[in-house]
Symmetry: C2
Subunit: 198 residues, 2 copies
């Protein structure tokens, strides 16, 4: 058990370093040799840990989805009220995108053309699971509001994901807008649009 | 003049083909030889037209911004009412992202890590100009509504760009949601959030 945990932490460390190298050199531009050197492993040692370059990219994306799960979804899972649960999910998701720590992983997770075949399907299935979770919450929130909503749950979920995930394109923590201003403004904006009626 | 037009059209054709090759192989993975072959030029001929691989990437992004200008902004420039002008801008921008024709150019425009230095600055300046245009319109719309807005014009502009640009990640014209349902739903959603008051 201790060994398994250690090996998981080792894989995550490799993912974080490799994400940085991919971010700097591009997926095609970065060689396994570059990554091994950055991690402090031999090339053979790196292949032993991750199997292949494709698999490494998959592990980075999977790690990105793990972070969402562990730092956002686990924290809200016991909230009973759907509106509060959705609100806290959005707050957590914004926090995840905005903090600089996992920036490279966020970018790689959203620019996933390089991953193909079965591994791409596995990541897309995890992303889809999160989208369905959001759609379900949105539907519950709309039902409870009792009004006829303007936006179907899938369109609302993608509008939300767009607003929030796009943050990585422009938001800089050293900029004028602070996170404690951004987050409530976006949450309120989303709920106003969501709960308006035709 | 005719020659200049012809050379512009030739450059655009190269951009469209090269965007497809970059999309398939990645910027680092695609060689100038690959692109020359796809365009039907010798490698020397391709370099003659575009100067360098960096420059070619820049030309593709610049072409993407030209399309926005020509097919969206030119069409709305004479609309006097700010709310109608903003509405038609959003309609046009959604149409641009959603139609499959320029898909590869859209992707390349938004995943711009590969471009560096002065060329990156030039593209970012064009993107910033569009953002300022949106912010200006949003401020006018909010002023005319007379109410205290929830969202500052920059935050509203980026929320809008997120919702709309994210479409390229998920929207497929062959899917369940048709564009004539999507577009008014997103436009109304945005305006509800924008014009709500605290």
């Amino acid at each position: 058990m201790a060994q398994k945990l250690e090996s998981k932490e080792r894989l995550r460390e490799i993912c974080r370093v490799a994400a940085r190298v991919f971010y700097e050199k591009g997926y095609d531009g970065a060689s396994m040799q570059d990554i091994a050197k950055a991690v402090g492993l031999t090339k053979a040692g790196l292949y032993h840990h991750v199997g292949s370059k494709d698999r490494l990219l998959y592990e980075i994306m999977n790690y990105g989805m793990d972070i969402l799960d562990e730092t956002v979804l686990q924290k809200v899972k016991d909230i009973a009220d759907p509106q509060e649960k959705l609100r806290q999910t959005i707050v957590g998701h914004i926090d995840l995108i905005v903090r600089a720590r996992d920036q490279e992983i966020t970018v790689i997770l959203h620019e996933n053309r390089s991953l193909r075949g079965a591994l791409r399907k596995k990541i897309n299935a995890r992303k889809r699971e999160y989208i369905h979770y959001l759609e379900g919450l949105i539907a519950q929130v709309q039902e409870r509001s009792g009004a006829t909503p303007l936006l179907s749950p899938p369109l609302a979920a993608f509008a939300l994901l767009g607003m929030v995930n796009w943050l990585y394109q422009w938001y800089r923590s050293e900029g004028l807008t602070k996170q404690d201003e951004l987050t409530p403004a976006y949450v309120d904006f989303f709920f106003r649009g969501l709960l308006s009626t035709a």
